[in-house]
C-alpha cells in the first residue's frame, strides 16, 4: 500500500508551521532563559512563549491546535474510520509534578491525550498515546502506517507533543555538573542537550491525489543494550531496515534530518552510523540547535521539515554547528547557510531512552 501525507501542522518555540520553517531557513533559534522551571539546575531552553503564570496542560493545548490544523489541511470530513496516534516522551507528567508539589488538581485522564485530541476531532474511533521517549512520534508514525496497511483505519492522524518537566530537567542537570546554555548538534565544542517543546501532527492516508509527501517506510528497532545510551549496531540496523522496507538503496537518499542531540554520546554514534550506511552523498541537517530537543515531538518535526525542504529545494543549516566532530568528517553537514539542491528522498532519524530507534524514509509524492 502506498501511504501518503496529505496535511500537517506544528508549533515550536519559533512559532507556527510557517514561522518555524521561515525561522529555520533564516537561521533563527528559539533559545532563551528558561521560564516556569526554577531550581532544576538548567537555565536555558527552547520554549513556546505562553502567558504567565504557567498554564496547565500546555502540551495538550498545543496538540489540540496541531491536530485541528493538520486535519484542516489533509483530512476530508467524509473519511470514516479515523484513529489518532500520539507520540510523547513526558505525557502530561508536568501535571503530576504540580499535583505532587503544589497540590494542584489532577485528573488521571489528563495524563494521556484522549481529551486533547477529541477536542479537535470529536468523532475519532481511537486515540493511542505512545510513550516512546525521544523517538515517540517516529514510533507513532510506524503504528499509524501499519493501521492503514491492515485496514483498521481509513486515515490516521499521527502526532507528537511534549512540554518540559522539572524532573527531566533535573535529570539533565544531574548528568552534567554545568548544564549547557546552547544545544550544538555535531559540534566538537558541544556541551550537551537542552529541551525544547511543542507539538506536530501529520495526516496519513492510503494513496490520495492531494498528497504532500510519500511515506515509504518507518523502521523500528530496539538496541536491547543500554537504558539511556545509544548503540551503533541498533541504529545501523534501523537505517538499513528502513531502506529495505522502502525498497530503496542507501544511494537513493538525498537528505538526512538527523536526531543530533548535542550530547557526548548521541552525536558521535549517529555520525558513525550515517557514515557507515550512507557515506558522504546526502546533505545532513539537524533541527535541535534551533528548536531544542522536543522529545516525543522531535521525529515528526524532523519529518515535516524534511518535506518542506524537498518542496522548497533547499535545506536549513544546523544551528550552532561551527566545527564538526571528527566522527562527522565524512558527512555533508549543512552549516552556515541553507543549502539549495534537488532533494527527492529523505531519511529522518529519531532515537530514544530505552534504545528505541525509529528511522523513516519520506519522498516527494
Amino acid at each position: 500500500m502506498r501511504i501518503v501525507v496529505t496535511g500537517y501542522d506544528m508549533v515550536t518555540g519559533l512559532g507556527d508551521l510557517r514561522s518555524t520553517t521561515a525561522g529555520l531557513f533564516a537561521g533563527r533559534t528559539a533559545l532563551g532563559p528558561l521560564r516556569f522551571h526554577d531550581k532544576t539546575g538548567v537555565t536555558h531552553g527552547y520554549q513556546i512563549p505562553d502567558e504567565d503564570p504557567e498554564p496547565s496542560l500546555r502540551a495538550s493545548r498545543w496538540l489540540t491546535r496541531c491536530v485541528a490544523g493538520a486535519a484542516a489541511a489533509g483530512l476530508p470530513p467524509d473519511v470514516r474510520r479515523v484513529h489518532v496516534v500520539v507520540g510523547t516522551g513526558l505525557r502530561e507528567l508536568r501535571a503530576v509534578e504540580r499535583w505532587a508539589v503544589d497540590g494542584a488538581a489532577l485528573d488521571p485522564a489528563d495524563l494521556h491525550f484522549g481529551r486533547a485530541v477529541r477536542r479537535a476531532l470529536p468523532t475519532v474511533e481511537g486515540v493511542h498515546t505512545v510513550a516512546n521517549a525521544c523517538s515517540a512520534s517516529g514510533h507513532a508514525l510506524a503504528v499509524g502506517a501499519d493501521m492503514l496497511v491492515t485496514g483498521e483505519a481509513d486515515a490516521v492522524v499521527v502526532a507528537g507533543a511534549d512540554a518540559m518537566t522539572d524532573s527531566m530537567l533535573a535529570m539533565i542537570a544531574r548528568i552534567s555538573d554545568d548544564p549547557t546554555t546552547a544545544l550544538r548538534p555535531f559540534d566538537r565544542d558541544r556541551t550537551g542537550v537542552l529541551l525544547g517543546e511543542g507539538a506536530a501532527a501529520v495526516v496519513l492516508r492510503p494513496d490520495a491525489p492531494d498528497a504532500r509527501a510519500h511515506l515509504l517506510s518507518t523502521s523500528l528497532t530496539c538496541d536491547a543494550f543500554h537504558e539511556t545510551g545509544p548503540h551503533l549496531p541498533g541504529i545501523v540496523n534501523a537505517m538499513r531496515d528502513a531502506h529495505t522496507r522502502a525498497g530503496i538503496t542507501a544511494e537513493d537518499i538525498d537528505l538526512v534530518v538527523a536526531h543530533g542531540t548535542g550530547t557526548a554520546l548521541n552525536d558521535p554514534t549517529e555520525a558513525a552510523a550515517l557514515t557507515q550506511v550512507l557515506g558522504d552523498r546526502p546533505s545532513v541537517t539537524a533541527l535541535k540547535g534551533a528548536l531544542g530537543h522536543t522529545s516525543g515531538a522531535a521525529a515528526l518535526m524532523n519529518l515535516i521539515v524534511a518535506i518542506e525542504s524537498m518542496h522548497a529545494g533547499r535545506v536549513p543549516a544546523v544551528a550552532g554547528l561551527i566545527n564538526s566532530i571528527p566522527e562527522a568528517a565524512g558527512l555533508r553537514l549543512v552549516r552556515g547557510e541553507p543549502e539549495a539542491g534537488r532533494f527527492e528522498l529523505a531519511q529522518v532519524n529519531a532515537f530514544g531512552f530505552g534504545g528505541v530507534n525509529a528511522v523513516s524514509v519520506v519522498g516527494l509524492p
Binding site: 507528567l93 505532587a100 485522564a109 521517549a133 544531574r174 536491547a224 531512552f353
Partner: protein, 246 residues
C-alpha cells in the same frame, strides 16, 4: 490479522506472588538494582510467561532478535517523577539518584524487558488510559501482521499508586506468528465468556492484558470456545478484543 497466544502469566503480589522487593527470588539478584516496582513486576510476569528457570536468563534466548515488546502502563513512573519534583522544589535536586534517571522515562519498563531478555524487535509503550491494555494486545498482533516481529511479549502492569488507588499487578501474554491452540481475534462479536471489570479491582492500564490471561486460562481448561474482553470508559473510549480456542 490474528496471532496465537503461546504463553501467559499473571503476577499478583497480593495473592502470594513475590513483591517487587522480593523479585530477586524469581529473577536472581543481577540486573535489578535501581529498578522501580512496576519494572520488577513486569520482569516477573515476562519471566513466568516464557517459562524460564529461576534466575537471570542466559542470553541469547531463541528467537529474541525478532521478538518485540509492547507494554501498557499508566502509572509506572509516577512515583519517580513526583519524588524528583519534590526534591527540586525543596532545593535538593542534587539528592536525585542517578539510578533514577532511566526510571523517569515513561518507557523504562519496555526498555528493561528488552535488555534483560535480549529482545531487539520493536519496543512500544502505551499509556492510553483505560483502553491501554487491550490496545497493547492489538498493537502487539499488528507488529506481527506488519512483519515487524515474529513474536511479541505484551505486558500490562501497574504498581500500587495512590493517584488512582490501584492494586499492583503485572500480566504477560506472548503472541506468536506460529499457529497455536489459542489465538487473538480482533473481532468484537459476543462470546461464551465476557470479561469487563476484574476481581482485583482497579488495575487501570493492566486490565486488558490481565483479562487476556484470565481468558487464556479459562479456554485452556476447555470451559468454552471464545471470550470477549472489553475495557474503557466514556472519557477514554472503549476497546474490545476476542480470545478464541482453535
Amino acid at each position: 490479522m490474528t496471532a496465537s497466544i503461546i504463553g501467559h502469566a499473571l503476577h499478583v503480589p497480593s495473592e502470594g506472588d513475590c513483591s517487587p522487593e522480593q523479585a530477586h527470588t524469581l529473577l536472581g539478584r543481577k540486573g535489578l538494582l535501581g529498578k522501580d516496582p512496576a519494572t520488577r513486576l513486569a520482569l516477573c510476569a515476562v519471566h513466568r510467561a516464557l517459562g524460564l528457570p529461576l534466575g537471570k536468563p542466559t542470553l541469547p534466548l531463541p528467537g529474541a532478535v525478532t521478538t518485540g515488546v509492547v507494554v501498557s502502563s499508566n502509572l509506572g513512573n509516577i512515583d519517580t517523577v513526583r519524588s524528583a519534583a519534590a526534591l527540586v522544589r525543596a532545593g535538593e535536586r542534587r539528592s536525585i539518584s542517578p539510578m533514577d534517571i532511566p526510571n523517569a522515562s515513561s518507557n523504562v519498563i519496555a526498555g528493561a524487558i528488552a535488555i534483560r531478555f535480549g529482545f531487539t524487535g520493536p519496543n512500544l509503550t502505551l499509556c492510553s488510559g483505560r483502553t491501554s491494555g487491550i490496545d497493547a494486545l492489538r498493537h502487539g498482533s499488528r507488529l506481527i501482521a506488519a512483519d515487524r516481529a515474529d513474536r511479541v511479549v505484551v505486558v500490562g502492569v501497574e504498581p500500587d499508586c495512590d493517584l488512582v488507588e490501584t492494586t499492583a499487578v503485572a500480566a504477560c501474554v506472548v503472541l506468536s506468528r506460529e499457529p497455536g491452540a489459542l489465538a487473538l481475534d480482533l473481532g468484537t462479536t459476543p462470546a461464551a465468556l465476557t470479561l469487563e471489570d476484574d476481581p482485583l479491582g482497579e488495575i487501570y492500564g493492566a486490565l486488558g492484558v490481565v483479562q487476556a490471561v484470565r481468558a487464556a486460562e479459562w479456554l485452556s481448561a476447555g470451559s468454552g470456545p471464545d471470550a470477549l474482553l472489553t475495557c474503557g470508559d466514556n472519557e477514554d473510549g472503549y476497546a474490545s478484543i476476542r480470545v478464541v480456542a482453535r
